[in-house]
Symmetry: C2
Amino acid sequence: MKRLTILGSTGSIGQSTLSIVEQFPERFEVAALAAGRNVESAFAQAVRWRPQLVSLATEELADRLSTRLKGAGVTEVQVTCGTKGTVDCATLPSADFVVSAIVGVSGLEATHAAILAGKPVGLANKECMVAAGEILTRAARERNVPLLPIDSEHNAVHQCLRVGARNEVKTIWLTASGGPFRQLPVEQFASITPEQALKHPTWVMGRRITIDSATLLNKGLEVIEACRLFDVRPSQVRVTVHPQSTIHSLVEFIDGSILAQISVTDMRLPILYALAYPERPASTLTFDLAALRQLDFEQPDFERFTCLRLAFEAAEVGGVHPIALNAADEVAVDAFLDRQISFTGIPDTIEQVLASTPEAHPTTIPEVLAADRVARQTARELVARAAQGR
Amino acid sequence: MKRLTILGSTGSIGQSTLSIVEQFPERFEVAALAAGRNVESAFAQAVRWRPQLVSLATEELADRLSTRLKGAGVTEVQVTCGTKGTVDCATLPSADFVVSAIVGVSGLEATHAAILAGKPVGLANKECMVAAGEILTRAARERNVPLLPIDSEHNAVHQCLRVGARNEVKTIWLTASGGPFRQLPVEQFASITPEQALKHPTWVMGRRITIDSATLLNKGLEVIEACRLFDVRPSQVRVTVHPQSTIHSLVEFIDGSILAQISVTDMRLPILYALAYPERPASTLTFDLAALRQLDFEQPDFERFTCLRLAFEAAEVGGVHPIALNAADEVAVDAFLDRQISFTGIPDTIEQVLASTPEAHPTTIPEVLAADRVARQTARELVARAAQGR
C-alpha cells in the first residue's frame, strides 16, 4: 500500500490523482492533502479520504475548514496552513510518495522538502523544474530519490528512456500540438484575442497553460524541464509539431533506434504510471490503435513561435534565465488575458525581461524565489508601460 | 570482444552481419562461418575474416574451398561440410554468439544445437521459430540463453518490451507495409503475375519473402514467431497496415501505454542491436525525424489477405499446423514463380494442406522435420494437380 501526499489536491491534477486512488484502493491511500483557497473542495476531500493532515493557504481558511470538519463529526483530520503547512504535508513521516501539483513556483519549497525527506516525487509542476531544476535534481541524486514526471511528454520520455542507457541517448524529441495558430499567418498574430487563444485543439487545461500552448512557451518550459530531469543539454532536445498529440514524445538513441510512446490524451495515465512505477496496473484508459489512421508531423516555426526560441536560449544560458522566462511569461499571459498587451506582447515582454536579466546561478530555493520576484517586477513594469502605450 | 558464428554467412543477413563486424572491430570477431553452396563468396569471407571454422553444404564444395584456401596460403582456417559442419560451427567452444540466418528449416538443427550449447542466438530465421518455436524457446528458457530477434518487427517488439514486465503486455502490434496489392481490387488477385508480386514497396529482399510480403503470409509467420518468442497467445498479437514501414512494431501495455519503435529500414540496425545487446553502440544508421511528415495506418483486410487469416488459424491450433503453413507456402510460392499456379493458388494450396494436416505436437527436431516433409509432399501434389488443370 502506497500512502500519498498530494500537493495541490483541489486542482485538476490533484483531482485526477484522487480519481486514480479511488480506482485502485488496494494500491493507494491518502496521507495528506495540501490545497489552496477552496475550502469547500478541501472539506469534501477530507471527509472522503480522511487524510492525516490537510493544509490550506491561510490560517483563516484553515479555521473555517476545522470548524466544518468538527461540525461533520470528522475529528481525526489535522488542519494546518501556509507554506509551513504545505511543507509539513510534503514531509509527513507516514507518506510514501508525494505528488507535486501546485501550479507555479509556490510549490517549490514543499517539493524540495519532500526530496530532502527522501520521498519519491511525482512531478506535475513544471515551473519547479524550470526554476529550480538543478537544485532539485541534485538533491534527488544525492538521496537517490526517484523523480517521476507526470506531464504527458516527460512521462513518455521517462518510459522510452527505459529502453537504453542514459549515455546512449542522442536526442529527446518532445511533440507539440502546435496550438490553434499553427497555420495562422504571422502578420495576424498581433490581433489574436484571448478568446481565440483559449481554444486548444486537443487538451482541456487551465488558462495560463492554454495560452502557453498557443505561444509554444509551454513547450519551451518542457524543453528546459527535459534538460533538468534527464540531464541532457538543450541541443539534445528538439521539438516536432504533431497536431494529433497521439505520440506524446520520442527518444532517439545513438544506435539509430527511436522509441515513441502513444496513449490517450488523459492525464490519469501519466499519474497512474508515476504512482505505480515500476509496475503497470491494468487500466481502462485504452488507446484504440485499430482506429488510428494518420499521424502528421512538421517542423516548428521558430519565427512564428518566438517564445520557443526564447526558451531554448534561456535553457542554454541556464541559471536565472529559465526562472526569468517563466516569471515574465506568467505576468505577460495575465496581462494578455486582461487585454493589457497583445498576443505578440507576450514574447516581447519575455525577451525584454531576459535581456535585462544578468547571468547568475542560484544554489538555494530562497535565491530562486528572489530571482523570480525580480523578473516578475520587471515584467510588470514593462506590461504597465505597454498598456499605457496601447 | 564477442566472437561470432554466422550461420548463413553468404546470404543477405550474413553479409550485413559481417559489415557490422567490419564497422565495430573493437567489439566483434568472427569465430565460424556456415555458408551454403557459394564457394567464391565463402572463400572471400574466409580470407578476409580468418575464422577458425568454415562449413559448406557438401563435401565436394568443402574440398574446393580447402584447395583454394591452401593455394592462397591460408592454412589456419578449418573447412567442414553438411549439417554436421553447420552444427559444429554453431557449437564451436570459442564462439560467444550465434547468428542464425540460414533461410528455411535447414538451419533448425544448428540453431537448436547452439541453444543447447548455451550460446546466445540472434534469430534472423523466422522459419525456425515458426516450425520449432516451442522446442527452441523451452530449451532457451531451461538454459537461460537469450534469443534476440533480428527481423525488424520482432526486434522492435523486443525493444518496446523492455519498458514493462511480461505480464503487463496486453497486445503486440506488428506493422505490415501491406505489400504492393493493398489497394488492388480482390477480383484482380488471380491474375497477378510474378513480376508484379516481386516489386515490394519499401524493402528489398529475397524472392520468397517478397512474395510472402505480397500475400501477407510473411506477416502471418511473424505473428506465429511473436507468439513463440514472447510467450503470448495469438489473440494477443494484431497486425496494423502501415505503408511507410517507419514504425517497425508496437507493444500495448495493460495500463494503456503503447510503445513504438522507429528507425531506418536497414537490417543492419536490428543486427547491431542483437549483437551488442544490452548495449547500444553509436551508429550512422540515423532516421531523420525532422523530415518525417506523415504516418498512415489501416486495418488489414482478412478477405483480401487470406494467408494472414490462415496463419492466425494455424497459430491457434499450434503444433504441426504452423509447420504445415510454412512448408505449404514455400512450395506454393515456388510454383507461383514457375507459373504453375496463380497468385490466389498460394492461399488455396496452404488452406488445403492445413485441412489435411492432423493436430499433433512434435517435441523433437526430427519430428518437426518429418512434419515439414509431409506438408511439402502434400503441397507438391496439390500444385501438380492445379498445374495440370490450368
